[in-house]
């Protein structure tokens, strides 16, 4: 029972330490720019809690969350999929091309588009997986290079006369017909995108697969120690390839809320960089399905309130500084608490062993004397 209380205290200590440190540091930074930090927080809370802000934050958080999940699948087995950015963009692009070319009833059209995206993402990530398992090329290198390849490939096809059409000063793929538009929840004043349902389902699936299935166990085992996993009969190569493909398939979903709920085409203005945000969020959420959801919402909140701060006369960069400080604080706080916990455990185990040895010693003596 004592052990659990310690654990609980430690579990609460880390996020608390992170939040407090982050707040102190950002306050100092804002104060250093000659502004009042407390008014800034006031502005953020006021504006961020408005009903349209809430809707905005949720809509913004959905792709963030999916991206974090895609990154986390790799992270759980020590696989750094830095290529989520390229994977989701190329996935969204080809999904947009397919969606724009087809005109099917919604219940077929939407799954076809989503499936195209997942398969494209999986293939793109699979390239890195194959290279890692067959040639031993580090996935960090290949995925980051594949980001550029994806960008160039999209750039090649996103031209008039290839797969795109010209609309003013933009190129974009043909619009997806109405049947391919995703449903929304009619909240006031703006609707919440229906893709949040998909995000929650994928999050639950992630939690279940990682924690409650044999595959998830193998995955975590490989993450802890490759050689130990190999020795106990796990095929590390197969695991690397499979999780890379899964990560890519999840990455394929990242662009879908935008494609099916907002832009209905892939153009020069399609959002980029969400894959990199996902890395920060996976770190922040500790690869945990719920933790990452909170992290994604926090990011949405910061995005939302950041430009309001700018309007109130604060430096525009403050919000990016805040994000960086938060990630750093979380990573450092967890590491500190982990080490502290480890030391605590070692000391306790050491004491127990010493006590045991003492007991044994006295018992032995007692035995001898008797």
């Amino acid at each position: 029972m004592k052990l659990d209380r310690n654990r609980l205290v430690l579990a609460v200590a880390a996020p608390l330490l992170a939040v407090v440190t982050a707040l102190v540091i950002t306050s100092l930074i804002i104060a250093a720019t000659g502004e009042d930090p407390f008014r800034a927080y006031q502005v953020m809370l006021d504006f961020g809690s408005k009903s349209d802000s809430q809707v905005w934050i949720i809509n913004k958080a959905v792709p963030y969350y999916l991206s974090a999940l895609a990154v986390a699948i790799g992270f759980r087995m020590n696989l750094f999929n830095i290529g989520v950015d390229g994977q989701y963009r190329i996935a969204a692009f080809f999904a947009a091309v397919v969606g724009g070319a087809l005109s099917l009833p919604g219940f077929v059209q939407i799954p076809v588009i989503i499936l195209t995206a997942m398969v494209t993402g999986a293939i793109w990530a699979g390239i890195a997986g194959v290279l890692k398992t067959t040639r031993g090329v580090s996935e960090v290198i290949t995925t980051i290079m594949l980001n550029f390849t994806a960008g160039s490939l999209i750039g090649y096809f996103l031209q008039e006369g290839r797969l795109a059409e010209k609309d003013g000063n933009l190129f974009h793929t043909p619009d997806i017909p109405d049947s391919g538009h995703f449903f929304t929840f009619p909240t006031n004043p703006n609707p919440v995108g229906g893709f949040i349902v998909v995000a929650v389902l994928v999050g639950a699936l992630y939690w279940f697969v990682i924690n409650r299935t044999r595959f998830g166990f193998d995955l975590r085992a490989v993450g802890r120690s490759e050689s130990a996993a190999e020795a106990s009969g796990v095929s590390v190569k197969r695991m690397v390839f499979t999780s890379m493909v899964l990560s890519g398939a999840a990455a394929g979903l990242v662009g879908m809320p935008t494609l099916l709920g907002e832009s209905y085409n892939y153009g020069n203005d399609f959002p980029t960089g969400i894959g990199f945000t996902g890395i920060a969020l996976a770190l922040l959420g500790r690869n945990h399905a719920v933790g990452m959801a909170f992290a994604a919402l926090l990011w949405g909140f910061l995005d939302r309130t950041g430009s309001q701060l700018e309007l109130e006369g604060y430096a525009q960069e403050i919000i990016e500084v805040m994000k960086g400080v938060i990630v750093l604080c979380v990573v450092i706080a967890y590491e500190l608490v982990r080490r502290y916990g480890l030391r605590l455990q070692q000391r306790r185990v050491g004491e127990e062993l010493a006590a045991q040895a003492r007991d044994n010693g006295t018992n032995d003596k007692a035995g001898v004397s008797a």
Partner: protein, 345 residues
């Protein structure tokens, strides 16, 4: 043991989500009163000090501030923005009572349309895009015509018979610059070799990455190209810096008269000329029209003919070829030369 807290966490998170999803409470639209606060200017990536496109818009707003005594609020876009971010920026400005609200850059094309509908009494303007709406002023420029003149100048000034073009992002807008430049070069001297390269295929970062432009320019200089035209917003500063290190090589600037830019003063002796896009004039015109209660709407094209785009002469480096350039300009204005908007594939 561990199952319970995790389950609890999942449940509480879902509940929290559900609660926020119902979006209770007042919206920010309701709580703000709209009174006239002046001009709201939303920049593209790079921000006001990009020495180029945004700065030109800022100059127009500054002039309005001085001459018309209006307040100006400026907000800047970050990299990797999504449509939501742009919609929010414009909404915040309109909501706070800024009028007109100006989106600088074609990325605002769609979001202006959306936001303009919600604020029918505010005048919106977007630079470089044609957007629908009764209260929207679409400001577009004939970049290809200005670039044609730059092509003429480049063709006359090159000594190695090789000229280069660096575009920030390979999109339809920057292709207009490339197309005009290429046509100007070819019409002046068909034997010249033109190399056109882009920094990024799709990513807007191309307007905000001077380091990449610097490398690109270095690569071109190494291949013997001695006149380089960069249409890349803030990135252009990088290529100008690289070109300034090589004797006899010329840079052609874009959007603002970059010879006059204090931030580029160190390199100004290498800036042959600039294709000036008079965003400042357009922005000023719009602000004035709103102040006069006769707001401009619809599409307003700024062409070479009415000096919406022009070739800068600061530094006097192209004074010797003025007659040739004026001749080309006249031909374009008279419609004798039709400048293409998209490059030949």
């Amino acid at each position: 043991m561990r199952r319970v807290p995790k389950l609890a966490a999942v449940v509480s998170a879902t509940a929290a989500l559900a609660l926020t999803a119902t979006a209770c409470g007042e919206s920010s639209t309701e709580s703000n009163s709209g009174k006239d606060k002046g001009v709201g200017l939303a920049f593209d990536v790079g921000g006001r000090d990009d020495h180029s496109f945004n700065e030109s818009a800022a100059r127009g707003a500054d002039k309005a501030k001085k001459d018309l005594d209006v307040d100006v609020e400026m907000l800047t876009a970050g990299n990797n923005e999504t449509e939501e971010d742009r919609v929010q920026r414009l909404t915040s400005l309109a909501q706070d009572g800024y009028n007109p609200v100006i989106g600088v850059g074609f990325s605002y094309g769609k979001s202006i349309e959306k936001v303009a509908k919600d604020f029918p009494d505010t005048t919106f303007a977007v630079v470089d895009s044609v957007s629908e709406g009764k209260n929207v002023d679409s400001i577009v420029f004939s970049e290809h015509e200005g670039s044609y003149l730059a092509g003429v100048a480049a063709a006359l000034k090159t000594k190695t018979d090789k000229v280069g073009f660096i575009g920030g992002v390979n999109n339809a807008l920057i292709q207009k610059f490339e197309a005009g430049f290429a046509q100007g070069v070819k019409d002046t001297d068909p034997k010249l070799k033109l190399t056109s390269e882009y920094l990024y295929p799709t990513n807007d970062k191309g307007f905000n990455d001077p380091a990449a432009a610097k490398e690109k320019a270095k690569g071109m200089l190494d291949r013997g190209i001695d006149v380089i035209y960069s249409a890349a917003g803030q990135s252009g500063a990088g290529s100008i810096e690289a070109i300034s290190k090589q004797k006899g090589a010329w840079a052609i600037g874009v959007d603002s008269d970059q010879y006059q830019q204090p931030g580029l003063a160190k390199y100004k002796d290498s800036i042959l000329t600039s294709v000036v896009k008079n965003v400042d004039v357009a922005v000023y015109d719009l602000i004035k029209s709103v102040e006069d209660d006769k707001p401009l709407t619809g599409t307003n094209a700024y062409t070479l003919k009415e000096d919406g785009v022009s070739l800068a002469t600061s530094g006097g480096f192209i004074d010797d070829i003025t007659s040739k350039i004026d001749e080309a300009k006249k031909k374009i204005a008279d419609g004798e030369i039709k400048v293409s908007e998209s490059p030949k594939k």
